[in-house]
C-alpha cells in the first residue's frame, strides 16, 4: 500500500512556522510547504534507515538473512505538497501497521508463517519439495520438507494459519514530535531562502 502521512502543526515546537503561517495568505503557502515536504521526506527516509540497522528480530531468531523491508520502505518515501498541506508518502507492504492494528487474511486458505531460516523472505510457491502435514489432535498444519540424508525425517518450513493479527507499531515511523521539528526546520529553510 501507499500510505500518506500529513504533517501537522505542533504549536509548542514550531515557533517560526507559526509566525510564518499567521502571515502567509492561503495561496502563498505552497512554497513554504515545498520546504516542509522536503524535510518531512528526509526525516522519514533517515528514520527508516536508522531503525533498519537494529530491527531484524525475526531474521535473527531464525538465523536467516534479513529481507531489507525497512530499507525498501525508506527508498519508497516521497513527498507531496499543496497550498494547505505537506505530506509524506510511503509505498511499502506492511507500513500500514504504523497507522493501526492489522488483521491479515489469506487470499486462499492459509497464511504461511516461516519457521525455518531457508523459508524466511520466501513464499512457499518458490519451493518444489514441500509437503502438507496436518496435526489433527492439535488442529495445526505445517508445510515441511525432507531433511537431507535423514531418510523420512521432515523439518517444518512454514506454520499455516487462517489469519494473523499484528498490533499497531507506531515506532515504524518518526514520532509526531519529530515531524513537528521537521516542519519547523522546513519553515526556517524557507525563511533563509527568501
Amino acid at each position: 500500500m501507499t500510505a500518506q502521512y500529513t504533517l501537522v502543526v505542533k504549536d509548542d515546537i514550531t515557533p517560526f512556522f507559526n509566525r510564518l503561517n499567521s502571515k502567509l495568505s492561503p495561496n502563498k503557502r505552497k512554497d513554504l510547504n515545498r520546504h516542509i515536504g522536503a524535510r518531512g521526506e528526509e526525516l522519514t527516509k533517515g528514520y527508516l534507515l536508522k531503525i533498519s540497522k537494529k530491527r531484524h528480530a525475526t531474521a535473527q531468531r531464525l538465523g536467516a538473512k534479513p529481507t531489507g523491508f525497512l530499507e525498501k520502505a525508506a527508498e519508497s518515501v516521497e513527498s507531496t505538497v499543496g497550498n494547505n498541506f505537506a505530506s509524506v508518502l510511503i509505498s511499502s507492504p506492511g507500513i500500514g501497521r504504523a497507522f493501526g492494528d492489522i488483521t491479515i487474511k489469506p487470499k486462499k486458505t492459509y497464511l504461511t508463517i516461516p519457521v525455518h531460516k531457508d523459508a524466511y523472505g520466501k513464499r512457499a510457491g518458490e519451493f518444489d519439495n514441500l509437503v502438507f502435514i496436518r496435526n489433527t489432535v492439535k488442529e495445526t498444519a505445517v508445510l515441511g520438507r525432507k531433511v537431507e540424508g535423514s531418510g523420512e525425517m521432515l523439518e517444518a518450513m512454514y506454520v499455516l494459519v487462517t489469519k494473523a493479527f499484528q498490533k499497531q507499531d507506531r515506532t515504524l515511523l518518526p514520532t509526531d514530535e519529530q515531524y513537528g521539528h521537521a516542519m519547523e526546520l522546513g519553515a526556517r529553510d524557507y525563511i533563509n531562502s527568501i
Partner: protein, 286 residues
C-alpha cells in the same frame, strides 16, 4: 496518532514513471542491449534474452504492484514463476513455439528466467530503477531547496564495491570525504555509464549499477553553501544588458515582517544553535 489517509492517496512519482513504460521483447543479451539508445531503454520494460511479450507484460504489471507497495518481492517472484510455468517455459527450451529462439540456459543460473537469482535480480533492479527515476525527477523540481545529492549506502553488502574510487573515476570530487555533487553535475551520468563501469545500468540516478545498494540523500541549501558548493546554473554575462530582471519575492510577506523574522531566527540560532536533521533523528531537537 499519525494522520493516515489511505485513500485517495496521490500517485507516487515512481509509480507514474513505471506506468508510462511499454514492453520491449528482445532476444538480445545484456551487452547487446546496451547498444540501444538509453531513452528507448528508459521507456521500456525489457529483460535480456526475453522475447515473449506476454511474459514481459506480466513482469511490467508485477513491477508496478511492487512499486505501488501492493506486493512484496517474494510474492512478485512467485507470481512470475507461476506465469513462466503456465507458459511452459523451461531453461533448456525457453518458451514453446517461440519465433525468437534464445540460447538454452543452465537451470538455476542467471540466464534461467525461472531461477531465484534471475527473478530476484530483475524485481529488485526494476523497483530500484523506478524509485531512483522518481527521486531524480522530484529532486530536479527542488534544486532551490536542496541543490545537491550525496551518494550513500542504503543496503549493506558482504563485499561492497569501492564507491569512493568510482565516484572519483566518474569525475567527482569528494567533499570532506563525502560523495557530494550538485544535482546537475555530470558525475551522476558518468557513475551509471556502462562504458566506464561494466556493471552500470546506463542511468544517471540510483541504483547506478546492478545490486549496488547505493542511493541518494539530498543536501539542503544551507549545508551545500557551508560546504562551499556553487550554483551550477549560474551564467556569466558579458554584457550588462543581458542581466536578467531581478526576481521579486512572491511570498507576499511584508518586508518589515520578513526582516524581523530573519533577525529573530538568527538571534535564536546564535543562542541555541541551528536546528539540524541529525538532532531531530537523534531525538535531541528542542
Amino acid at each position: 496518532m499519525p494522520n493516515a489517509i489511505p485513500s485517495p492517496v496521490p500517485m507516487t512519482d515512481a509509480l507514474r514513471i513505471a506506468l508510462s513504460r511499454g514492453v520491449l521483447p528482445t532476444s538480445l543479451s545484456t551487452e547487446e542491449l546496451r547498444q540501444l539508445p538509453a531513452e528507448l531503454r528508459a521507456r521500456s520494460v525489457f529483460s535480456a534474452r526475453t522475447a515473449n511479450a506476454v511474459y514481459l507484460q506480466e513482469l511490467r504489471e508485477v513491477v508496478n504492484e511492487v512499486v505501488e507497495g501492493e506486493m512484496n518481492h517474494a510474492t512478485a517472484r512467485v507470481t512470475l514463476l507461476e506465469t513462466l510455468r503456465a507458459m511452459g517455459y523451461t531453461p533448456e527450451g525457453g518458451f514453446p513455439d517461440s519465433d525468437t529462439p534464445v540460447p538454452p540456459a543452465v537451470e538455476g543460473s542467471l540466464q534461467d528466467l525461472s531461477s531465484f537469482r534471475r527473478l530476484d535480480l530483475i524485481i529488485r533492479t526494476q523497483e530500484r530503477l523506478m524509485r531512483g527515476a522518481g527521486q531524480k525527477q522530484r529532486g530536479q523540481d527542488r534544486t532551490d531547496i536542496a541543490p545537491a545529492w550525496e551518494l550513500v549506502r542504503i543496503n549493506a553488502r558482504e563485499v561492497p564495491r569501492d564507491w569512493q574510487t568510482r565516484f572519483e573515476e566518474a569525475g567527482g570530487e569528494l567533499i570532506n570525504g563525502r560523495m557530494i555533487a550538485h544535482k546537475n553535475d555530470p558525475v551522476w551520468d558518468a557513475l551509471g555509464d556502462s562504458a566506464l563501469f561494466d556493471d552500470a545500468l546506463d542511468v544517471d540516478h540510483p541504483p547506478f549499477a546492478f545490486g549496488s545498494g547505493m542511493g541518494w540523500s539530498e543536501v539542503f541549501a544551507g549545508e551545500w553553501e557551508s560546504l562551499g558548493g556553487s550554483d551550477q546554473t549560474a551564467v556569466v554575462y558579458e554584457d550588462a544588458n543581458q542581466l536578467p530582471v531581478p526576481k521579486v519575492s512572491t511570498s507576499g510577506l511584508d518586508d518589515d515582517f520578513l526582516a524581523e523574522l530573519k533577525r529573530d531566527l538568527k538571534a535564536h540560532e546564535d543562542e541555541n544553535g541551528k536546528l539540524t536533521m541529525a538532532d531531530i533523528l537523534k531525538g535531541d531537537a528542542s
